[in-house]
């Protein structure tokens, strides 16, 4: 009798160690990694499976230097993520991965680094931020710019406040709309770019957020002299496999699951402006 193993399609069930509520509809899950840890590159994603419901691609949002715990930040928007966000400590989530290409942390060594995040886009960038902070001496100036819809929807708020207080990085948070309790900037993320001290020429920019936000941000980065070969964005498309086998995540010739999700902007420049591609 031949047992045909499921191979790359089979998830590894991992227990939930803890769930943190980040905002009204967004939760961070900390999973117990297998014995030898879960190693990943910042920017990579896993396919997360909820028993009997389905599977979704979610970026890893934890610290790559702490492989004993696997973190994912999930917003409850569809059937699978809503079911996932109802799970609590002790339950299991199936994990396949890590998949894809991550942020260019090696390529950025010796250069100024600009991290620009919008909304939930901070989650795939957080592992890169941890790396940049842990290996601060390897990089030039480091700036972290984050925009959220409102103060209630700011992700990782306590951590951001700590980063804003640190002197060796320049971190700023801006919100689209704010009530009286907010003393920080109000407006859109690209408007923060003008205030950052950065040499355009050799800066590496890592941008993640809703696609329109990324397009507008890149436009402003180019205006500031950041070369499109040094701008990196993280793209989302529908995924069923994460393996380059199901065909769903195609964007022109690219499979977002294996050529991305982090992509150098010059590779995308033409594709990203076409409608319905």
């Amino acid at each position: 009798m031949n047992a045909v193993a499921a191979g790359p399609w089979a998830p590894t069930p991992l227990p939930i160690r803890g769930v943190t509520r980040e905002t009204r509809d967004t939760f961070t899950f900390a999973l117990d990694a297998p014995a030898d840890g879960f190693r990943f590159a910042p920017g990579q994603f896993n396919m997360l499976y909820v028993f009997g419901v389905g599977e979704v691609p979610i970026s890893v949002s934890g610290d790559p230097a702490r492989p004993e715990r696997l973190l994912h930040t999930v917003r409850a928007v569809g059937a699978v993520t809503r079911a996932m966000c109802a799970l609590r400590r002790g339950k299991t989530i199936g994990v396949r991965g890590p998949f894809g290409h991550g942020w260019p942390l090696d390529e950025a060594r010796g250069r100024d680094v600009l991290v620009v995040a919008g909304g939930l886009g901070l989650a795939p960038l957080r592992p890169a931020i941890y790396h940049l902070l842990r290996h601060r001496e390897r990089y030039g100036r480091v700036a972290i710019l984050y925009g959220a819809r409102s103060p209630d929807e700011v992700l990782y708020r306590a951590e951001l406040e700590r980063w804003c207080a640190r002197r060796e990085v320049e971190a700023r948070v801006i919100v689209d709309r704010a009530g009286p309790g907010w003393a920080g900037p109000v407006g859109v993320v690209p408007s923060l770019l003008a205030r950052v001290e950065m040499s355009g020429g050799s800066t590496v920019a890592m941008v993640c957020g809703p696609e329109v936000m990324m397009r507008f941000t890149v436009r402003d980065l180019e205006r500031l002299g950041v070369a499109s070969e040094r701008i990196f964005v993280s793209i989302e498309r529908d995924m069923k496999c994460g393996l380059g086998l199901c065909g769903h995540c195609q964007l022109g010739p690219l499979f977002v699951c294996k050529d991305g999700p982090v992509l150098r902007y010059d590779r995308l420049a033409e594709l990203i402006h076409l409608r319905e591609v």
Binding site: P210, E211, V212, R219, E222, R223, A269, I272, H273
Partner: protein
């Protein structure tokens, strides 16, 4: 030879300029027509023209994958469309789509920039007109953002 000067003179945006200034600018202008649904320009492309709308309406849109084109605002007869030709990297930031049939006077962007440099008085006069347009639009965008008509508080 028929020139575009009469059309230029009629357009409200240029109503403050002298005949001589209009004649000077006419060298940069062309008459353009767009069919319903046709794009005047697309996000990402080289921004090369400044449009004075004569007839019809243009929708300014941004494309959101998964929800399609989202209309931010529309511009109609007597109004102007397209600012990205003014500043490097001269790339369009939005899509502009003709809602019905559109007739417009299109100024070649580079030609216009050069003329404004050549003749600083004209350049200043035009810049003031453009600044006022943009100032108005900014106020309107702020008002639009308030979402005053929504039902919940």
């Amino acid at each position: 030879m028929e020139t575009l000067e009469p059309l230029l003179r009629k357009h409200p945006f240029l109503s403050g300029l002298s005949d001589e200034e209009i004649r000077f600018l006419a060298g940069c202008a062309a008459n353009r027509r767009f069919a319903p649904g046709e794009l005047l320009f697309r996000e990402g492309e080289e921004a090369s023209a400044f449009y004075l709308l004569r007839e019809g309406r243009v929708a300014l849109e941004v494309n959101v994958p998964g929800s399609g084109p989202f209309q931010l605002q529309s511009c109609g007869e007597g109004e102007v469309v397209g600012w990205s030709w003014l500043f490097p990297p001269y790339r369009w930031q939005l899509d502009a789509r003709a809602v019905g049939a559109v007739a417009a006077l299109a100024f070649d962007g580079r030609c216009l920039r050069e003329k404004m440099e050549q003749d600083h008085d004209l350049g200043y006069a035009l810049a003031k007109l453009m600044l006022y347009e943009v100032y108005q639009r900014l106020l309107n965008v702020r008002l639009q953002r308030l979402d005053l008509y929504r039902s919940e508080p």
